[in-house]
Subunit: 270 residues, 2 copies
């Protein structure tokens, strides 16, 4: 099934637009979880079980696993296998290289690890992104306007009569021959988000930065649903994973995920 | 020792500007080398032994290891340990993420794997690159004008009175507080290379794309030495690794590396 169709179907069935970022930071692990790769797997298992009734997607950020070398990659493989089949497993890998090399990354992440989607850095242009887009069943979210302050440095620079991120979107529209391309727009950027939805409603949007990064939920949701378009996904990581530092962390994550899903759905209706 | 000082010292001692890309592609391995991760380590060991008299640096591209998952990361760790101490070990990882996440990548690659330098994608801006620059002993090469055709899409777009890649360079100059920042400019871009050297002679340049990617050696070398500046490194991968597909591949790699080093040094003097 084409990625966009699968996304639409899962969102309809699940009644949610929430993605949970699986970013296991052992330094702030709840009491009782080992601060190592066994702990990472245990923590992710508990978080997935606690939140799966309210989510559409899970998004492990590769840095949190790569950090641990070989053991971290084992933990990433195990984490991938724990993500339920009726969720979208998004590899937050931010990869991108020349064509023949991107092909290796695509094979590693979309075939071997069998993620459903990946985040890709567009900076190196068309031939660097094509290998990720080859399989219509796999989604590719391109870094467009990110949630961090550094998004000012290049993404928001003027370029002729456009802003650079608008050039990215125009290119993504051209690259979207198989209806499997999307974009990343930070929740800290609601004004841009609204303009982008008007400009490219057909592109699914991944919206990170809710919570810890200061993104305003209501403003982002309102902007994301300002017109009919492909389903947005709102990602929350730290705000759910580390909502409680005690032994009840899973129960608190459960409640927080439920509240966040409900808040998104409520803001959507307003 | 500050990265730039170390680079200058090694280039002076070694009398070479050659970097060999350790991009093990089992599909085109020479006869007799197993097409798996054991073969990757064996192949790299032979290539390093055959070329070390003529090189300053080795640059494994992470995609060729990540391709193999856990076993690939083991091969990458082993490869890192095989790179001699008097060479610069460059992690061609092209990473970049929001600040707290880039910190994990920096820790994994510059601390745990102990690479001397890393390639970083600048698209997400200042806070995304800072963690890589923290340690003055570790070099950071930013993707500026890459060797592939996609460099047209964003890197070469006009932005006000500048080209986008010039904005990158201006930012890298600001970020270069510890004399450990550099830039990547493809060998397929000799005109840009000459302009960039004039504009930012203090930045070390990593120049990939010699050989298989069609970069013209003499034009690149002439451009790179058009003014006095920080030492450039010229990377060749496939042209040396796969110069011969038979059992003499190491001997042919030896000769090819020697020829390439000599050709660079000769073109420099012209």
């Amino acid at each position: 099934m084409i990625f966009l169709e699968k996304l639409i179907q899962l969102v309809e069935q699940g009644g949610s637009f929430l993605c949970v970022g699986l970013d296991p930071d052992v330094k702030i692990f709840p009491a009782g979880i080992p601060k190592n790769c066994d702990g990472i797997v245990e923590f992710n298992r508990e978080i997935i079980a606690a939140t799966k009734d309210f989510t559409i997607a899970y998004k492990p950020n590769f840095a949190f696993y790569e950090r641990w070398g070989v053991a971290g990659w084992k933990a990433l493989e195990q984490t991938r296998r724990m993500i339920p089949a009726d969720k979208i497993a998004i590899a937050d890998a931010k990869r991108g290289d020349i064509g023949n090399t991107s092909k290796m990354y695509a094979q590693a992440i979309l075939q071997e690890l069998d993620f459903d989607a990946i985040t890709v850095n567009p900076w190196m242009g068309e031939d660097s992104v094509e290998p990720f887009l080859e399989n219509e069943e796999k989604g590719v979210y391109f870094l467009t306007v990110t949630s961090n302050s550094g998004s000012q440095d290049f993404q928001k620079q003027q370029s002729g009569d456009k802003i650079m991120y608008e050039r990215v979107i125009e290119n993504v529209q051209l690259w979207n021959r198989k209806q499997n391309a999307g974009i990343v727009v930070g929740a800290t950027q609601p004004e841009e988000l609204r303009k982008i939805r008007d400009f490219a409603p057909e592109l699914p949007i991944l919206i990170p930065g809710l919570g810890a990064q200061g993104g305003d939920l209501e403003a982002s949701v309102s902007a994301a649903f300002s017109c009919d378009g492909a389903p947005p996904l709102f990602n929350q990581s730290r705000g759910i994973l580390y909502a409680d530092s005690g032994k009840d962390f899973a129960e608190v994550a459960h409640q927080t995920a439920q509240k966040t899903r409900n808040a998104i759905n409520k803001a959507k209706e307003q």
